[in-house]
Point group: C2
Chain length 220, copies 2
DNA sequence: ACAAAAGTGTTTACCTTACACCCATGA
DNA sequence: TCATGGGTGTAAGGTAAACACTTTTGT
């Protein structure tokens, strides 16, 4: 039994960081630091005594992964008393969406201090972290239908086909190209740039930009 | 400063109990028991060390209001450090829907230990309880659109017009009678009973029954 | 020239909305 | 008989779904 610490509460935050890699939805995990349990876990940690929950989530995320300033939203609070072995810890789960990993996050990844896993191929995780990821994935998929949340995955400029691949990866289904483009453009949240992506040996794709970056619109 | 108690965590549950009264959406509040602050507050209290969050919500709800076995769903966790004056308390908010107040709840109400307030005319409440009620109301209104959650307000048998009034009270808008009936019956969650409500001096209303009571269907 | 992804409209089916009159009862 | 809420159908508009070929580039 660990003695309870003074500065922190028996409450922690855990963050499900989603990002796209190779057209697949990935989750960022960190290796368990616990002697008892060396399983992969979600980045997170205890809430300090004088700290907003959101701040705690951001701070612990930054410490564990180097990420900051990302889209972060509270998901659900998990508090089964049997979920932790050593002491009762209630965790307020968040999810985060990042378009590209920051340099410091990339560094953490190269040193093995963090690693991406496709949601379809997650390792065995600490405690109930699999349930947390599952719920986060559900929330994300649901929000695709009535918000512009998917834009959080996109870089400054991107082709519509890239956005479509994001939708398809999250929903797990193929979408019709024409209907998808119509629907997205009708939202009036993107604008054309004069530029094109000249990638492969095929016609270059028009690049679009988000009209109000950082803002997630809810409609309906 | 109160000394922290051993058996409980610095985490509480608060429950927004919604019920219909006189075609208005009401919230059940209890009088603040605190010497410092005698404002009305949401029923709730601390989470015990070995207790599920849901159990804590249910237990505290029963203690404060006599209600049990009601529809209860986690809403959001509020944890601004400045939200409480004496000590840092994080609260996991829930909302509950009840069709009619149970006898024990009615008793608590008659003794002044609990009282209903219309959401449109709430008193000044403890701490951030107004924000909690606001968020609960939003969630409830949103869920009307894609679930059968409103049925939780209804008694065993009820006329369709009664259900319509529930929708109207929650959404704050009038609905077309014919379209409403079509839409609800198309959900295939109600069945006719042979009975009618003979109330006023007008044609009696057909009574309906919920096919699978206690089950909230999510569609779309 | 060919492979590979980009880009583009129309038709159909379905769902949502608007809307007005008769019915059964109690007073 | 009259006031009150209960009960019913249809037409129009809008949204979502299905569907195939041409364009532009790199090799």
């Amino acid at each position: 039994m660990n003695a309870p610490q003074k500065d922190v509460l028996p409450v922690s935050t855990d963050v499900v960081v989603f990002t796209m890699r190779e057209d697949c939805l990935n989750v960022l995990l960190v290796p368990g630091d616990n002697r008892v349990n060396r399983r992969w876990r979600l980045p997170g940690g205890p809430v300090r005594h004088c700290e907003h929950l959101d701040q705690a989530a951001e701070r612990n995320l930054q410490r564990d992964t180097g990420l900051s300033g990302v889209f972060l939203e509270q998901l659900y609070t998990f508090g089964a008393p049997e979920r932790d072995l050593e002491q009762r810890i209630i965790t307020v789960a968040y999810y985060a969406l990042v378009s590209a990993l920051s340099p410091s996050a990339t560094k953490q990844m190269s040193t093995g201090a963090a690693r991406l896993f496709p949601v379809s191929d997650l390792p065995t995780m600490l405690l109930d972290h699999d349930a947390i990821v599952g719920r986060a994935h559900c929330r994300l998929a649901a929000k695709l239908e009535y918000s512009t949340i998917a834009l959080q995955f996109m870089p400054n400029r991107f082709p519509l086909s890239g956005l479509q691949r994001v939708y398809e990866a999250i929903l797990g289904t193929a979408l019709d190209k024409r209907n998808f483009r119509k629907r997205i453009l009708a939202l009036d949240c993107l604008e054309e740039t004069p530029d094109f992506a000249r990638n492969g040996r095929h016609r270059p794709a028009r690049l679009y930009r988000i009209k109000t970056p950082g803002r997630v619109e809810i409609f309906k």
